[in-house]
Symmetry: C2
């Protein structure tokens, strides 16, 4: 019996990275980023069900990578959809846990403390996301102007975003529309409150060549 299901999303085509290979396959310290990410969740909760959403056209390549790196960690690969929303909606069909954690495949540095905060928090509150304070000033831009806002009133949102499965199923009954940026906003639209827990600074989303260099540096040092 799995209490937690973890959906690792790896649908992005990595336009910002400039290469042809989707960024989730890029290697950090000689191992594809996604394998680091899967490993972290397994190490934290070996009973968690790991589900990887991958575009159909990349699944054979992933199998080749797993063979090459002798990556034997149990995980299911399911089809990614057109948008992140569709990938999660599909992955939800396979979740056996009472709780579901949804995590960006390109965040291989989530730490055990953040996962502990999330796992504990979701069992108490039903919907939990890890966040961080902003280190820099923030402005709101309009059509013709921009204004400073008080950064202490804002938080940067990370993943894994964790929910009681029943809540997530209700939220994902809503059809896709523009403006869904993360699962929390969808769950919120469905009428549930989101509880915030502390994330970790190194839990960056690797989307640019600078991020990738930093990630490689962190893993080697």
């Amino acid at each position: 019996m799995n209490k937690f299901s973890v959906i690792i999303t790896a649908g992005g085509i990595g336009k910002r990275m400039g290469g042809d290979l989707p960024k989730q396959f890029l290697e950090l310290n000689n191992l594809p980023m996604l394998m680091h990410t899967l490993r972290i969740f397994h190490d934290f909760d070996p009973s968690a069900q790991l589900i990887l959403t991958l575009p159909a056209e990349w699944q054979e390549y992933w199998a080749t990578l797993c063979a090459k790196h002798q990556f034997n960690l149990p995980h299911q690969v399911v089809d990614g959809g057109k948008e992140r929303y569709h990938s999660i909606q599909n992955a939800l069909n396979y979740c056996q846990g009472d709780y579901v954690a949804i995590h960006d495949g390109v965040r291989p540095f989530v730490d055990q403390k953040t996962l502990m905060n999330c796992w504990n928090g979701v069992q108490e509150f039903g919907a939990v996301i890890p966040v961080l304070d902003l280190k820099e000033s923030l402005r709101k831009v309009g059509e013709n102007e921009s204004n400073s806002v008080n950064r202490s009133e804002f938080r940067i949102v990370q993943t894994p975003q964790c929910f009681k499965k029943d809540i997530l199923l209700v939220a994902y009954q809503k059809s896709f529309h523009e403006g869904i940026t993360d699962d929390a906003s969808l769950v919120e639209e469905a009428g549930y409150a989101i509880h915030l827990v502390e994330g970790n600074e190194q839990n960056i989303k690797i989307t640019t060549p600078t991020d990738l260099r930093f990630a490689d540096f962190l893993l080697r040092s």
Copy 2:
């Protein structure tokens, strides 16, 4: 005749870094961070007047560092004040340029393109700051709740923040109050519009040990 004056602020006591030495003195690739920062502005605009605000109790140490590293770049050291606001207010007394750029000493990775955007922009618009899009979702927190906001309506604010000197002098006539987070917000309060230009991703504010390690890595590689 200097057209631009650059105020480099180095007043922070670096609480977040955990060490006793203020972070602006920490070395990147064997050279104190502040020297990298000063060098970048000099390389971009050799005619710029460089003014460094330093707490009085650290000025002798700075002189020792300059001797040790044979750092001969012309710059003036002026007293930093209790808050960043007071440091700038004091430094303004020494500015000879028609335009003033105010830059965090702990941002040694501002690039030539960002500086070009700022130098060109301020001469056209009078008040310019470099900004970046957010890569991650954003939430606004209230006393008892939090809500997702549309991150595409927000920008991360960097430095140098650049102003026509006359505008800055008017803005700094206002007395200090809580909630001044950057020069742009002060200039805005004085009734001037702020023009946004594109910053650069590596222009991070070095405030944590992780930032420092990454910065050191960037400079060495």
